[in-house]
Amino acid sequence: MSEHTAPPPTTAVSNPPVEALAPNLGDGDIVLASATPDLPPPTRQLDKLAKLIDISKCIGCKACQSACIEWNDTHPEIGVNFGSYENPHDLTSEMFTLMRFNEYEDPETGDLDWLIRKDGCMHCEDPGCLKACPSPGAIVKYSNGIVDFIHDKCIGCGYCISGCPFDIPRMSPTKHVVSKCTLCSDRVAVGQGPACAKACPTQAIVFGTKDDMIAHAEERIADLNTRGYDKASLYDPAGVGGTHVMYVLPIGDKPEEYSGLPADPKISNVVQGWKGPTKSVGMAAIGLAAVGAVLHSIFSKPNRVTEHDRVEAEEMVDDILGPEETAELATPNDEGKA
């Protein structure tokens, strides 16, 4: 490891270094960690980063998928064609990003639009996966916005899958750990941008500080407005506190048309209820019950069998059985006699 630390990334248009640099992301940059209520405060605040996917420039070439596989050394299966350009057929624990295709005909004009969306982790400001995760530190969020899965802390419970509002994390059926896009945290750590953004032939995927990306998106939207896409918009959903992967949507008023991009994603109330009240109220109730029992045992005398009870019992038994049988049964005798 060399002395000097890698600079913070500002763009994906950069050639990765070959010298060994100290990473610029570390414990001190973690602002959220799963199941870690008393996380030590970050030592500094990094610039917020974002990946912007301009669908109006995307040609659906899958360079992002290819670059993703190569950089992350994943091994998706060679599948089959099922009547679509989508391959693999869904995100998998070996395919972190996926081009989704939808042939959309404008209800008024009947004009065809081939809507192609790069699906993958949105790196939410308020990550549902992290909220749901029970394993301390298995999911972390850095102050630059990257939400990362720490595989050797993952216990394979799949709670993050229920927690995610975008249906992104995928469980490896063999390794029993969950995977998703890391926003190439290993590249970011040496001052680079994600492999997909670097590769994207038309630069439909761009990367930089979130402020720069929003400014860039505004330019793009202005251009789209002049081309008849007057509803063009930036997708940075507030429901999850904004995301660090954003889209420029030409048909901005119909995100669902982009292969089911949720119009108003947020962490499900059920998940909120489960990780919120249930946990606190539940554990409180259990605590109270336990304490209550202890106190009761201290401050109230226990319910004891009295001499009177013993006598009553013997009398009752004598009355029913009569002296002989009683005598036979005098001492403990499991065989007894019917």
């Binding site: 248009v13 950069s14 050639n15 990765p16 270094p17 070959v18 010298e19 060994a20 640099l21 990473p23 992301l25 570390g26 414990d27 940059d29 973690i30 960690a33 199941a35 870690t36 209520p37 008393d38 996380l39 070439c61 899958k62 360079a63 998928q65 290819s66 670059a67 596989i69 190569e70 950089w71 050394d73 301390p136 530190g137 972390v140 850095y142 990362d148 720490i150 595989h151 050797d152 802390k153 890391t182 945290s185 290993d186 590249r187 750590a189 040496v190 492999a195 670097k198 590769a199 994207c200 032939p201 038309t202 630069q203």
Partner: protein, 198 residues
């Protein structure tokens, strides 16, 4: 022991980190003491980089090849390929094919030894370079001597050899092309083309 431990744990609800540490020290594998952040180790550190050009389409994107070892001093294995940001045309970008160039170079259907399929046989068998090249040279000599058209009816020297043909690779370098051109036209082969015909 467990009871005791868990009590100690209860006393120490000071955050998983700390608890984990205490457990770790008690030899609980899963909860080994470890820093929270675990960025994947950066895989290009200390590799060699070499400028090259994508061999696929004619955009001819600039690429950087990251290798373990130096090709000029023995073995060099390709680890990663990425677009070259310095290149004016592709500015570091690569298409789905260029991004996966490493898989072409390291493909398990790369050819590694000369092979020969005998007439009627249902399989290839290995053959040494020497034998293969001698066999080819002999076949060329014999067929050329037999079928070279030296003169046409009018007695004009035409030196045309049409019973042999050569298809050249339009992914080879200009230098390879020049060597190939000299050899093939030099031998008088008329049926000489490359993919530009397709």
């Amino acid at each position: 022991m467990n009871i005791d431990l868990s009590r100690r744990g209860f006393l120490k609800l000071a955050g998983a980190g700390v608890v984990a540490t205490s457990l770790g020290s008690m030899g609980f594998g899963e909860a080994e003491a470890q820093e929270l952040a675990q960025i994947r180790p950066y895989k290009l550190a200390t590799l060699n980089e070499t400028r090259n050009t994508c061999p696929y389409c004619s955009v001819a994107c600039g690429i950087i090849m990251y290798t373990k070892g130096d090709v000029h001093q023995g073995q060099a294995d390709l680890i990663h390929v990425e677009g070259d940001v310095d290149h004016p045309t592709n500015r570091g970008t690569l298409c789905p094919k260029g991004s996966a160039l490493k898989d072409f170079v390291t493909s398990d259907t790369r050819l590694t030894e000369p092979k020969i399929r005998r007439p009627g046989s249902d399989s290839f068998e290995p053959i040494s370079w020497e034998d293969a090249l001698d066999r080819i040279a002999r076949a060329i000599k014999d067929d050329r001597d037999e079928n070279m058209v030296q003169f046409n009816e009018a007695g004009v020297p035409v030196n045309r050899w049409t019973t042999a043909g050569f298809l050249a690779a339009s992914a080879t370098t200009n230098e390879t092309a020049w060597a190939t051109f000299k050899v093939v036209k030099g031998m008088g082969i008329a049926g000489f083309d490359n993919q530009a015909r397709v």
